[in-house]
Symmetry: C2
Subunit: 623 residues, 2 copies
């Protein structure tokens, strides 16, 4: 991977930062956030402005360019990748390390007095705008909205915004009709005494209307906004996709409906003016609800007195708690996904010793096996297929320049997942196709102990996920090892593979308490720069737990793994496990054997079935 040469681009950007054509007054710094106008994590090619200007294309990062400097903030998952992809014009700011300045502090330290810092108001979330604006103002600078995106002005071959056909999601998948979701939303609005709700996140629009799309890779969403009133529904969406009879039928666009369920379809680009019109019609005390992460542009359109902001929208919270159709769908999706992985690992075991399997070939093969499964739609994120030192690059994606051949001498880490019409998967397994070293086994076993500590944790109702994060680290910490990422994220149901408002991370505090029906990942790891990476990830469902004393009837929760793929026992140093941990592994493998075994049998995949049975032999711990 050679870095992108950005000298010329930065020169152009610095020119437009001073050009009266684009800015009322010159800006001394320009912020290029990661996201799009919906604060999406995965973005369409036309929105990859930060990657365009810097070369760094990881999923999280913020670039800031001043007259003298260009700096990139990203987190531990991407330190190596960013360092590889960016040229010497750029300074990497490692978030989470003690000495790394915040963007605000850094700006204050490098800017000349009384500077203007520009940003696209549609791209920056309102909460970030507020924090940054305040910090800059208190140091005598100004954050200013720059209407025209300055990257777009220099990006001559910028791709078009996608506008792909929609998928309608049947009640058997969604569990609740869009009408019932609207009713539930309006009742939350009534509780908070707000009259309007603006849906800005793409997965929230998709979830609300039981529609899916493919405008963004990996996330089955489509570019749209919605504005929900107590008697009106407005959907802002472009293209001829509303002409699709299936979509018209699904949304009952041509039916005689009670007026409060009649959907008005409007152009995507009219959201700001329509929102302004809504606001103009408000009486005092009437409020508009939107996420505090919505764009500064939309948030500013609502005067403060009418604004009702929350960190998590009622849709975000409702979406996180899966209904029984969704959990059953997630179970089915994970069974199919495990079948594909059993096939893959059986195939790799035979092929890797021949020295012909590269990271890309392995990733493609994984996709091929997945695509054979019913209701497969696409991958849920870019497959991390990494062997040896590449495994230490936490969010690595193999490209021809880095593509390494799998061998019997190196650890192989595969973090992959898919979108099926019934659910979303995300699973990481770390394998050795030869003989792992004692040190590799030791590290793997600590990671496994952390994985089990979270998966088997019992905790009272009302507990937030971040309180479980240290459980995943304890065994690593005891030996002086750690990993620089959170332990888990919420997972959507045939939706975004990363979703809020719950998760398991030392980094968040504002997460919502875990509830039965929520689905998160459990994925501790260990990474040795230049040598190998280890991660063990299951998607797990929050379920009620049974305990001896039941928290004085407060009730309690634990996790049920939805992912049912063997954990390679060859990598485990059994003597480092307690008997309880050993039993956990054996019980888990027993369940893999039963559930996935039956499906492999049904699908007639006998060789993979034999592999599964071999890989799920019980561990025996010598006391």
């Amino acid at each position: 991977m050679s870095p992108k040469i950005t000298t010329e681009l930065l020169k152009q950007l610095r020119q437009v930062m001073k050009s009266p054509k684009y800015v009322q007054e010159p800006v001394q710094a320009y912020i290029v956030p990661s996201g799009d106008a919906h604060q999406s994590e995965y973005i369409a090619p036309c929105d990859c402005r930060r990657a365009f200007i810097s070369g760094f294309d990881g999923s999280a990062g913020t670039a800031i360019v001043t007259e003298q400097h260009a700096a990139m903030w990203t987190d531990g998952r991407y330190f190596l990748q960013a360092a590889h992809q960016m040229d010497n014009n750029w300074t990497l700011m490692k978030m989470g390390l003690k000495d790394t300045p915040t963007q605000e502090d850094w700006l204050v330290s490098v800017l000349p007095e009384g500077s203007k810092v520009g940003v696209d108001p549609f791209i920056i979330p309102a909460d970030q705008w507020k924090r940054m604006s305040k910090a800059l103002r208190s140091a005598g600078h100004d954050l200013v909205p720059v209407k025209e995106n300055l990257i777009d002005t220099i990006w001559t071959d910028c791709p078009q915004r996608p506008c792909k056909p929609l998928i309608t999601l049947d009640l058997s998948y969604a569990g609740v009709s869009w009408r019932d979701k609207i009713v539930a939303l309006r009742s939350k609005m009534a509780e908070r005494k707000v009259l309007w709700f603006v849906v800005t996140a793409l997965d929230e629009v998709a979830w609300l209307f039981n529609l899916r799309g493919s405008d963004v890779e990996y996330n089955p969403v489509f570019f749209a906004y919605a504005v929900i009133g107590m008697n009106t529904i407005r959907l802002f969406i472009d293209g001829d996709r509303m002409m699709d009879p299936a979509v018209r039928e699904h949304l009952q666009l041509d039916s005689t409906l009670e007026p409060e369920f009649k959907i008005q379809v409007m152009p995507y680009g009219s959201i700001l003016s329509e929102l302004q019109a809504v606001v103009a019609g408000l009486s005092p005390k009437e409020k508009v609800w939107l996420s505090d992460k919505a764009s500064y542009a939309l948030t500013e359109a609502i005067p403060k007195a009418y604004r009702y902001l929350t960190p998590y929208t009622p849709i975000c919270i409702a979406k996180a708690v899966k209904n029984s159709s969704e959990t059953e769908g997630m179970r089915r999706a994970h069974i199919k996904d495990a079948v594909a992985l059993c096939e893959l690992f059986n195939w790799l075991e035979k092929e890797v010793p021949k020295g012909t399997v590269t990271e890309i070939i392995a990733a493609d093969k994984a996709e091929e096996f997945r695509s054979q499964q019913k209701d497969f739609v696409e991958l849920s994120f870019a497959t991390i297929s990494s062997t040896g030192p590449n495994g230490a690059i936490i969010h690595y994606k193999p490209v021809p320049e880095t593509n390494r051949t799998l061998s019997v001498n190196e650890i192989y880490l595969l973090d992959s997942g898919a979108q099926y019409k019934d659910g979303t998967t995300d699973v990481t397994r770390t394998m050795h196709f030869g003989t792992p070293s004692a040190y590799e086994k030791e590290c793997f076993t600590y990671v496994l102990k952390g994985h089990i500590a979270v998966s088997a944790a019992i905790f009272p109702n009302g507990t937030k996920g971040h309180l479980l994060d240290s459980f995943a680290r304890s065994a690593l910490w005891d030996c002086g090892l750690d990993y620089l990422h959170g332990t888990g994220h919420g997972v959507g149901s045939f939706l975004n593979v990363h979703e809020g408002p719950c998760g398991i991370s030392y980094k968040t505090f504002a997460d919502e308490p875990l509830e039965a029906g929520m689905i998160v990942s459990d994925e501790p790891g260990y990474y040795e720069d230049g040598s190998f990476g280890i991660r063990i990830e299951n998607v797990v469902l929050v379920i009620p737990a049974e305990t001896k004393y039941n928290f004085k009837n407060r009730g309690s929760l634990t996790f049920e793994p939805l992912t049912l793929v063997p954990i390679q026992t060859k990598m485990i140093d059994v003597n480092l496990l307690t008997q309880k941990e050993c039993n956990w592994v054996n019980d888990y493998h027993q369940k893999c054997r039963e559930v996935i075994g039956a499906e492999l049998e049904r699908q007639g995949r006998h060789e993979a079935l034999r592999w599964l049975i071999r890989e799920t032999e019980p561990l025996i711990r010598v006391q």
Copy 2:
């Protein structure tokens, strides 16, 4: 404990809330916070306004009185106590429970439109003011400062503000001279480019000048403020205590000093006007630093442009990391404290079966034994001496009405500590003087497992204490038990028994990372309402840890118990311990025997020594 009848008082308060003598416009609600003008946790009798109006005298709580309602917010430690002490005029708001409204939300729900909510601007911290003012304003109400404290206007027999003599702290105790502390503070000020620093917390003033006082019970502090400039030192303090030759000598008030170390002594009450004078002399960009928890009155005195607020002051952070004189002093204090407790427990073992020892007698006896130790000053908090059901009242203090007799049939919980000139102690032991039930032993053992999990935890440098909280709960959670308080708090060195900026609690997120030299408590518990309470508390010192892989030279930390008092083995169900936990208990008891045994021997306390030896017999775990 019968509740305080507050009908008449509330009537009077509601009258002054409307009286033009005290308020410009009537206030529809009046907030009575817990604290004093320094946001102290322990307060002088003249500042116990919330206890006066409500009857509830726990250390944390906020009262709000409206025309119709009176409500009290407090946390899990005080639910039972508050319910016992307040009459039917009051509604108890249980903080931390899901359905309990915040003060702001509650106010909005009960107030008529356009209400005014009053509060004493010297008593409410600026950060609370800001949060509450914003929430009220967005609901159409106003938070207004009421200059005269309305409780004081109806409190006819309010005691005088104390003004007791000072204690000067020798360099051998303090480790660093006040001059060097001022130099270090000024260098932090220079780093942040601020010209002035306002010291508002009483323990920060005491620490900075190496002075102690006794204006407030349990906390060796005195009423004072300080304003530190780059070339000036102003100390705001009342009374003739500055006439004491030892104090004058200590502060070098009569010496010829470099002007930047010359202390100007000013009246306590002149802080606001002097601060206003400082501010009046500022040029643009010159800043004044103070805690964001300082009073609204002082914060407002500094116009926003000149204000530099941080959640923790540089003094708070420096004070938390003990120097070697302080840690050595803390060790000595804990050895003396353990001697006193060995004497006490030996005495209780003999006396309890006679049925003559009440909770108050036991608490007095504990104080008597402590007072025999060198450099004893006073207790560090009100002794929690509680038996049977009283033990379930987390911050119980025995009073004649509740005073229960210790017996061989009930669990006894003693949470106590002292101020010695060389250090502050805080220790909880839970004992049974007869035969504990299997259930009591089971609960005790889970609490012990949690205590050990924290005490023996190893974690990388930079870890915040709140990430360790769940370790203390894991064994309890597994069986469906929990406790409604944090696991640990910072402990001062001959200063406040509760201090920031570190701690171990699920409730905080803004704590500073743990560092070697910090001192915290480790005190998980379990409470069965109406039956018993269990808590096991040691004060522990953060020390560097040795690990196999040392976090890639990031380094790691663990804890060393400073408290060396046997944990009653009779209460332990050994079969519930792992071998590692069993070894921890045995090693701990071995250290108690060696260190405290030697001191008991030296002090000629042979009977207590025999008790110690018996109580520290190794546990044997049957596999």
